[in-house]
Subunit: 475 residues, 2 copies
């Protein structure tokens, strides 16, 4: 099925395959600023499509958007000690404004817990002011040493939700609710199955009591941390003095959460569904769902293409006609590269037979369809089928590459030969977790919500196992 | 009509009136970072509403969104000399990433001509690659000394369009087309009349051949530059080497434009329509168009409120029910503060009379309406009327405060006593323009598209007048 010479085969060089798609599909390109990406028009269109759905999900769960400053005073960033320890090594510092040296350095936000906490401390006086459920869409900067388009860069786009609540219970519920929102978005829209769980103490967010995560397996068995939600308890509300008078007129510290997903999701899309001919975009998120390619320049063909376009558009199907003066073969390859889920093609001879051809991007299957059929319904149904099928394909692949391990040797063998999700029992001692990290870039992914107990001993020390951990090599 | 004690009267102190509304309506608040604003939920909802309409207008005129980096290398910023001269005094500099000093300073983008030009230089080879019509929504930083919410701050949100074309003609057409888009948006959506024109050489954008502008008069006669579009000619394409092979296979420099509007538009909304009781938001842009306030807690009243809400929502009217446990008077004041265009109020006695009351925010008029009427249509019509009426009111005020001046004494008198738009004839000598700037903060606004010739002599030097200029005190 390999047809596109511009893309390196996945089997040959997965990293190069990824980079080729990013470039050839016009998703992103390098900028003159080291480690910063330019998100090009097609990449940004996918991001807008993701934003639209997520923003709607956030609003339906009661959240409002706001905008906090890009800069954070050094003293403000320093207020929560775990937080600053976690982020200080990777922030960019502004030291001069115009021609003057600043009295206090400003960091470019790597995340905005400190700004939101400062804001909440000023706004919240009583339990009546709670909860506050805010989100912001913005760019953040983290001074990464090694960068890779969408997966790790010095600047990226994301959303960060920051909420504040009256009780621990409410804040914990919010933390888990937003993890569910992310899971639903990945499953229903991106067609990506995820493992939900809690990060270990070692891997949790700087400043959090608990961090929850959705983890997805890429085509090569590497694991992508795809979205996280954090329960902060009073870790920020104490240093920032976010207090309120409760229902008994007593002063209490508020409980907080935060949660975020980023343009990294575009990387997840590429590496979950893409193949050797380019992207495969799930229909629900595809900027263009259907491309119509008229073959030949006969007036009737061109006419029919426009007719179909109008009819599909009316039925809220995102469709374009590609009638550019290029060969059909070139156009097929180009639209496969872009991952447009469905192609409609026909020439004069098809029309004479009263038919058109539908070609699916995901499995390359083609089908001749009579023009007497209800094409709007047919196209809708096929798009739904594609959405379902690519999810199931990703799920089957994940299941095939999920292993239960009971010994270190076994684990080493998997990491070396066919990485994926590795389930292993754990005694809950952080030393054992650290020891396993020695093995080929392995890192604990999460303690899953769906726990299993398939072996009695810790894979590392042999003592009594208490929890099952998911492991994987991470991006 | 003054009812709200939290807002200073406009007559008493216009600047304080403005600040009070920004605060009390929850539009924005100060952050711990000097000169940077927090855009709060209601302010951001208005911004989202503006973005939605504008983004759609941009896309319908063929533009696509992309995202350029936040940072610009110092050497890249230096490439166009007028541009760097204009912006260097007001940019923020990043000098450290993590714990390391950077080899080259990075400025935080004050605007992105340089990044787009660098990108275009790499992407464009042939006339077939043209035009490129891109826009981005982002935040920019300019190290202003004096700041004022939405009007002038160290960081603000905006959109910046950057386009590149085969010919001067096309680039010039784009520059004027986008000015028309802005004018339409101001007129049709924000209900703000604007003067369209060209900036003088002295006032044009750093790096532009020509700058066009829409200028709006605020309630106090002060003028707000509300949106600009720039024709760059080859000023950027030469230093950045944006060249292409033309239809005769000859190498040419491309022609460029850029254009932008910002959160400053929120300031324009406040100062054009607001009154002593708060905001007045034009219905087409209002996050909430109608608020229903049931009076009393009778089941029938509450029931009717919900019924009305459902029915209006179905007709795409943005409506909320305010059934919070506060007094009707408090709710009226609060919703007037927010500038919600229409209030529907009723108690049990109204329902017994088979009626409800509609109260307009803009002119405080009230009307009893029978429940037998088609309320969806009625409400739609009233919203349209309000949209039209507040535009006409702003237009009448502008006309009342637009003066033709033939002498400096006259001009000084107007500036001192009742500022507004001042039309004056000009010899086109920049010295005369500079001389007039001595008078109380006066600045030339633009050479209008609708030229007039009402006097033969330059208001400053008395020589032969060539152009009519608009003058005003600016924000």
């Amino acid at each position: 099925m390999k047809k596109n010479n511009k893309i390196t085969s996945r089997e040959l060089d997965f990293a190069q395959w990824y980079t080729d798609i990013v470039k050839e599909a016009g998703l992103a390109t390098y900028s003159p600023i080291k480690g910063s990406l330019i998100i090009e028009e097609y990449g940004y269109a996918i991001w807008e499509s993701m934003q639209e759905v997520l923003d709607d999900m956030f609003k339906k769960t009661g959240h409002k958007n706001v905008y906090m400053p890009l800069f954070i005073n050094e003293s403000l960033l320093n207020k929560e000690k775990d937080h600053i320890e976690g982020f200080a090594p990777e922030v960019a510092w502004v030291t001069h404004g115009g021609n003057e040296k600043l009295e206090e350095r400003l960091c470019v936000r790597p995340t905005s817990e400190t700004l939101f906490s400062d804001y909440y401390s000023k706004k919240i006086k009583s339990y009546r002011d709670l909860p506050r459920l805010y989100n912001q869409w913005c760019s953040v900067v983290r001074w990464e040493k090694e960068t890779r388009p969408f997966l790790r860069s010095r600047e990226f786009l994301w959303q960060e939700g920051h909420t504040v609540h009256e009780t621990e219970k409410e804040a914990r519920e919010e933390t888990l609710k937003m993890l569910d929102v992310y899971e639903t978005f990945f499953k229903e829209y991106l067609a990506i199955p995820v493992i939900k769980g809690r990060k270990t103490e070692k891997e949790k967010f700087a400043g959090a009591v608990e961090t929850y995560t959705i983890e997805a397996m890429m085509h090569n068995g590497i694991i992508l941390q795809s979205g996280t939600t954090h329960y902060f308890g009073t870790n920020f509300s104490k240093p920032f003095e976010i207090t309120f008078l409760d229902r008994n007129n007593e002063l209490q510290y508020a409980h907080q959460s935060s949660w975020g997903v980023s343009t990294r999701m575009i990387g997840a899309l590429i590496m979950t569904h893409g193949d050797d001919n380019g992207l495969i975009i799930p229909p629900k998120i595809a900027p263009t769902q259907v491309v119509i390619i008229p073959i030949g320049e006969d007036e009737k063909v061109v006419q029919k293409a426009k007719e179909l376009e109008t009819s599909l558009l009316k039925n809220n199907i995102r469709v374009i006609v590609d009638d550019s003066p290029k060969t059909p073969g070139f156009k097929f390859a180009q639209n496969e590269m872009l991952g447009i889920p469905l192609r409609i093609e026909f020439g004069l001879r098809d029309l004479e037979k009263n038919q058109i051809v539908l070609a699916r991007r995901d499995d390359y299957s083609k089908k001749e369809v009579s023009l007497d059929e209800d094409l709007n319904e047919l196209v809708s149904n096929i798009l739904e089928e594609i959405q379902k099928d690519i999810y199931n394909k990703a799920l089957a692949r994940r299941e095939e590459r999920t292993y239960k391990c009971t010994s270190k040797e076994e684990l080493e063998d998997i990491v070396k030969n066919k990485p994926g999700f590795i389930k292993a029992m754990w005694c809950e001692d952080e030393n054992c977790e650290t020891a396993l990290k020695e093995i080929g870039g392995l890192k604990s992914r999460c303690i899953p919500f769906e726990e299993e107990h398939f072996y009695d001993k810790c894979i590392c020390c042999g003592r009594k196992a208490k929890k099952m951990l998911y492991w994987g090599i991470q991006y």
